[in-house]
């Protein structure tokens, strides 16, 4: 199973278009936003813009890396017949699923690390030493719901459809979740919606750490609830699909 997991990660890292999308984009967006808004006073998060935007873009890229590694790839593997082939091996469906979830989670890391490096080197962002690894691990762990959401998307949609659906979800979650602009500047209805989204709470986790605080339990609980909901949905749709196609 370790070898399968490793191969899942390796094939994603080898995919240049994927890397450009999930790591190049957030880094470029970080450099742009932090240059445009970098001179402003502290944002509503109570952080310097270069730091607040760094956490937001790292979360944005992490979420994209996980969603893209999970949904479209599952849809593609299903369509190509690879999942059928893999089911003939002694690797059980539960282990296949576990490996895919883990691989998708691991693919949050390139965006987080590259955004942090860009922030430190180009924008001179400095944080207490412990905060860097804490941020990397927490943002990566906070991506769990997106891995499960990806499994749902990859189960219900085929190749191109899954790619498109993932992209829409990605952009909507990012924009409404306050990753591109502070939620405070949004109308109050939108703010209420934002507070229900996993992307909002993912960013909150990171901003707490960047302020030197402990992460809030509430954010973690909302993320866990999204994971549980998506996981249940994934089980339900995959069961319905096997009943229909078997």
């Amino acid at each position: 199973m370790i070898k399968y997991l490793a191969l899942e990660i390796r094939r994603s890292l080898r995919d240049r278009r994927y890397l450009l999308l999930v790591a190049g984009w957030p880094v470029a967006a970080y450099l742009l936003f932090s240059t445009v808004f970098g001179a402003a006073a502290d944002r509503s998060e109570g952080l310097p813009p270069t730091v607040a935007i760094m956490v937001a873009m790292a979360s944005f890229g992490a979420m994209g890396g996980v969603l893209m590694a999970s949904g479209p790839r599952l849809a593609m593997d299903r369509q190509m017949g690879w999942l059928r082939q893999l089911r003939l091996t002694p690797l059980s469906p539960a282990r296949i699923l576990a490996a895919r979830l883990t691989a998708a989670m691991a693919l949050s890391l390139p965006a987080i690390i590259l955004t942090f490096i860009a922030a430190a080197l180009v924008k001179g962002v400095g944080l207490p030493l412990w905060e860097w690894p804490a941020l990397v691990l927490l943002i990566a762990a906070g991506c769990l719901p997106f891995a499960a959401i990806g499994i749902v998307v990859g189960t219900i949609a085929d190749g191109d459809g899954a790619q498109g659906l993932t992209m829409v979800l990605y952009l909507v979650l990012a924009a409404l979740g306050g990753l591109w602009m502070p939620v405070a500047i949004l109308p109050s209805v939108m703010q209420t919606i934002a507070r229900t989204l996993p992307s909002y709470h993912l960013a909150q986790l990171g901003w707490h750490i960047a302020r030197g605080e402990a992460p809030a339990l509430g954010d973690g609980l909302v993320l866990l609830a999204w994971f549980a909901g998506a996981a249940l949905l994934a089980v339900a749709v995959s069961r319905r699909l096997t009943l229909r196609s078997a």
Partner: protein, 317 residues
């Protein structure tokens, strides 16, 4: 465990099971599978002893792929039971014992042939050596090629390697030579001979009677989800009648002709009668005695494919 010299034709099931005394590779008991209104597999019973090479022969839509899919645990029968070495299809034990080539089996996109084989190999308890599998499947030059950049024939060789790598006791192959040219096909069956020499069992599907005749020591013919004939290739050919006697007769009725010694079936086209025979010499002597008015008599061989059509049409009638 010698196989029946005579064919077991539809309607007389149970003879194979009665002979079985040891552990069988495959045991299918009264399995039925529907897709909506379509009866894909109809009360199918089948036993495959270990060490055999068995061909599942039939036209498209005969239920071969559905049967194979159930043997592999990829779909479940509506009723009836299946055992693979006494384990349930799709169980961990069955997965370890069975290697398979699927018609629609795909490969992990974006990885190299060598990487994929090494990964799949790591999933088995006692796999074959990587180099051995690469040689059997003739993939030596392709190890560094991406799996999504293989030609049809190369992909088929990779499927073979994936099927063999776990060193399975039973190989289940769904139309294994479909994408192969004549040369590759010969190499493929040569490799399969090496596999059965080690006491392994092969069950493969095909719609070429010639391939089944050349590669298998037993042919199970399927049509409309049922077994219509089952026996050695020689017995199958005898039972369908591989020679034909054609003659014209004033009274073209075919009554009594089918029961002539050596005859299998008779059909009339106007005044011309066609008599399928397993032994055309005996049939011809008997024919002349019973039908003295028979004229323009000719005796000819029947192509294997025609014989195949005869037996499946016989079921439909």
């Amino acid at each position: 465990m010698t196989y029946h010299p005579s064919a077991i034709v539809a309607g007389t099931p149970g003879l194979v099971a009665a002979e079985d005394d040891g552990e069988c590779a495959v045991r299918v008991d009264a399995v039925t599978r529907r897709f909506g209104p379509v009866l894909a597999v109809d009360n199918l019973s089948l036993t495959v002893e270990r060490g055999r090479t068995v061909a599942l022969l039939g036209p498209n839509g005969a239920g071969k792929t559905t049967t194979i899919s159930m043997l592999l645990g990829l779909s479940k029968p509506d009723s009836g039971s299946i055992e693979i070495f006494r384990s349930a299809p799709g169980s961990p034990a069955a997965h370890a014992d069975v290697g398979a080539m699927l018609q629609d089996g795909g490969m992990m996109p974006g990885v190299l042939v060598g990487e994929l084989l090494a990964m799949v190999r790591s999933l088995y308890m006692s796999p074959l050596a990587l180099g051995e599998v690469v040689d059997i499947a003739q993939l030596r030059e392709l190890e560094k090629r991406r799996v999504d950049r293989l030609s049809g024939g190369q992909s088929q060789r990779l499927r073979l390697a994936m099927a063999l790598i776990g060193d399975p006791r039973l190989l289940i192959l769904d139309e294994p030579t479909a994408a192969m040219d004549v040369e590759t096909r010969r190499g493929f069956w040569h490799a399969m001979e090496g596999f059965t020499e080690r006491g392994r069992t092969i069950l493969f599907s095909t719609h070429y009677l010639e391939e089944a005749d050349a590669a298998a020591d037993r042919i199970v013919m399927m049509a409309r989800g049922r077994v219509v004939a089952d026996g050695t290739p020689a017995a199958i050919k005898d039972s369908v009648g591989l020679r034909v006697i054609r003659f014209s007769s004033a009274h073209a009725g075919i009554a009594g002709l089918e029961t002539l010694p050596g005859a299998v079936s008779a059909t009339a086209h106007g005044s011309r009668v066609e008599l399928r025979c397993s032994d055309s010499d005996s049939a011809l002597r008997a024919l002349i005695a019973t039908r003295p008015d028979a004229r323009d008599i000719e005796v000819a061989g029947v192509a294997l494919e025609d014989a195949f059509i005869t037996i499946t049409d016989g079921l439909a009638a």
